[in-house]
């Protein structure tokens, strides 16, 4: 018997039927991961489709992917700071500032695009390092640091934009093209799906082999096949629908790649493990010899960098930067996306995928409501209601988990 299944108290489960019964047990005990959010998302989509037939049209779904990207990228950074148990209120301002710097250097100063991009993104990095330094050196709460950042960088953005205040990006620049007109050709999109599924199966099989060699329990091959098949179907359907219109946007693909990369960094590297540890219990992490300062610095830096990238993508998509770039509810949307996706505000619990799911929820609501011509008063109230319902589903399931003692 494998080393990890020898305890008598473990309730036995093996093969596909075992996996299914384990899953239903998890369902009943409320340990569902992102299943409830996905259900919430599906309900939202169904309701909007009923309210307006064009919601699930290829065209609108392609729009949705484009709309989701920049908030999603920013939310990715928020997931990281939330994992640490900290907060960044300034992602909106930083994104606006980066967009502004990109615009001014690229358009007004005529710098090469690549240089402008590098400067815009580096700015985010520097800001994050500055936050990290303030936090680790003086112990100022991140709420206050980033509140100051929210104001300060808004001011700087206005200063950078100067008198004009608003400027157009050249419509035919590579950046704008990437954000608005660059879509994968159908063949490439399908090939990509195949590659992703194959990579999944391969890594799963490799792990399985290694575990067997180490005398540990292994997932049944049939389960791997079933999961891979499910994954393939979902991805294929998605690509099929998106190809009905312009196709899979390169920008959205970049976002997905960032999500996967962040997820791997969090779950599979020493750095990510340290981040989760610090978020769970700083003192324990410090006593384990982790360089806690470095972790804070790197996470704040990563968050602001993601914000800068998100801001640049937003500017590219709008084909303009202005004083309200990054303003409005950018902050709240990004933070809400991370939280709705299931990342805890209290540190140590969350996943990069919550940025994707949460951003999809938020932008689906906003996109769906834009299709229905509602009074803005009603629109605000409906947004609130939908949000609440989507999250309540998730919370109810977590709650039952708590009742089962898995706090």
């Amino acid at each position: 018997m494998p080393a990890d299944l020898q305890d008598e108290r473990l309730i036995a489960s093996s093969g596909v039927s075992g996996a299914v019964s384990a899953f239903t047990a998890r369902l009943r005990s409320g340990d569902l991961g992102s299943v409830p959010v996905v259900i919430g998302l599906i309900i939202i989509w169904a309701v909007f489709q009923i309210a307006n037939g064009s919601f699930l049209s290829s065209r609108n779904l392609v729009n949705l992917t484009l709309q989701t990207t920049s908030v999603g990228v920013i939310a990715l950074g928020i997931v990281l700071v939330l994992l640490l148990g900290e907060i960044d209120l300034s992602v909106g301002s930083v994104s606006g500032l980066s967009g502004a710097v990109l615009g001014v250097t690229f358009v007004n100063k005529g710098w090469p695009l690549v240089l402008s991009l590098v400067v815009g993104i580096a700015l985010g990095l520097v800001i994050g390092l500055f936050y990290g330094a303030l936090y680790t050196r003086f112990g100022v709460p991140s709420f206050v640091i980033t509140l100051a950042g929210l104001l300060g960088f808004l001011g700087l953005q206005l200063l950078v934009l100067g008198k004009e205040g608003s400027l157009n990006l050249p419509y035919d620049s590579a950046l704008v093209g990437f954000a608005t007109r660059s879509f994968l050709s159908p063949a490439i999109a399908y090939a990509l799906v195949a590659v992703v599924v194959a990579a999944y199966v391969l890594t799963r099989l490799r792990t399985r082999g290694a575990r067997a060699a180490a005398g540990l329990s292994t997932a049944p091959t049939s389960m791997i096949v079933i999961k891979a098949a499910a994954m393939a179907v979902v991805l294929l359907v998605a690509v099929l629908i998106l190809n009905g219109d312009r196709g899979v946007s390169s920008m959205f693909l970049l976002f997905l790649a960032l999500v996967v990369a962040t997820d791997l960094a969090v779950r599979r590297t020493r750095w990510g493990r340290s981040v989760v540890a610090v978020g769970g219990n700083v003192e324990a992490a410090r006593r384990a010899g982790i360089n806690v300062r470095m972790i804070y610095l790197s996470v704040f830096a990563a968050c602001s960098t993601f914000a800068a990238v998100g801001g640049i993508l937003a500017a590219a998509r709008l084909v303009a930067v202005n004083q309200s770039s990054g303003g409005g509810d950018t902050n709240l949307n990004a933070i809400a996306a991370a939280v709705i996706g299931g990342t805890s505000l209290f540190g140590g619990r969350g996943s990069a995928y919550s940025a994707l799911l949460g951003a999809l929820v938020i932008m689906s609501i906003s996109n769906g409501l834009a299709l229905l011509s509602l009074d803005s008063s009603v629109r605000y109230m409906v947004t609130a209601g939908v949000l609440l319902i989507a999250v309540t589903i998730d919370s109810l399931s977590r709650r039952s988990r708590q009742a089962h003692g898995r706090a």
């Binding site: 609108n60 709008l318 011509s373 009074d375």
Partner: protein
Amino acid sequence: VSLVACGSDNGGDSGSGSGGAKKIALLLPESKTTRYEALDRPLFTEALKAACADCQLIYSNADQDAAKQQTQAEAALTQGANVLVLDPVDGKAAAAVVSSAKAQNVPVVAYDRFIENANYYVSFENEAVGKLQAQTLVDDLKAAGKTSGNLAMINGAPTDPNAADFKKGAHSVLDSSGFKIAAEFDTPDWSPDKAQAWMEGQLSAIKNGLVGVYAANDGTAGGAIAALKGGGVTPLPPVTGQDSELAAIQRIVAGDQAMTIYKAVKPQAEAAAKGAVALANGGKPESTTEKSGVPSTILDPVAVTKANIKDTVVKDNIYKVSDICTAAFAAACTAAGLTAN
């Protein structure tokens, strides 16, 4: 009626600067649209210099927050301002500022937006702006031979009292124009990306028959145009705007945007500065008309289209041709006949 009295007995005893230089406070409402800090403030400063060389300017910007504006007005009064030139975040709420100013015998000039009981009012009327935008759009469509079809309306922020005025003015024209307002949207925070996302949605919902877009300002117009282009709509339907942002002028040159509103801020600033100085010295401002008992100078907004860029923003030295015709727009500029001299 009481205005005269108020104005006259103010000369002697108001504020700390009564003996020497007069202090004029300019209170602007927000910094997120370009015009206030880019145009109104410098032009007003200049006009004030011209009207009264040793007058001192106190300046504040309320970031679209009525309570903050109240704080700033109080700060101005604390510093002994002799006149408040107030562009209110909310014209109605500004009544409180007026009454506390009056309590200290400080007259108030309502700048750009009407305030009841003010001593003087200088403005392009918001409703008139909305009307002009809508009228230009309708004329544009008619000129292109269209008499019916769907319009999309992108209004300003639902939380901005002025947006309601633009909306009202625009409706008064569009409702009876023969075109159908297929969908309407109050853009939260005047946010361009919200406008863009909404417009993209409407392209799925309305699909065809969209002949024109009313956008309340240049920012939202930019968002709408990005959506139309991204959605592959050709040719672009006419899109309106307001504020004469440089970016909007460039879009007009390039043919993406149909029009924007140009408010000749200079005469407005000059009228306000002169009026303020007159009030500070206990005199009466020159006025052309009267609105609800307040002596007023009402100016006319101008619609800027490709045809009259040169005669408006360029002529008034708001932008130089070289500002507008950057490399990216050089070709379009030549086509539009916009060349330096």
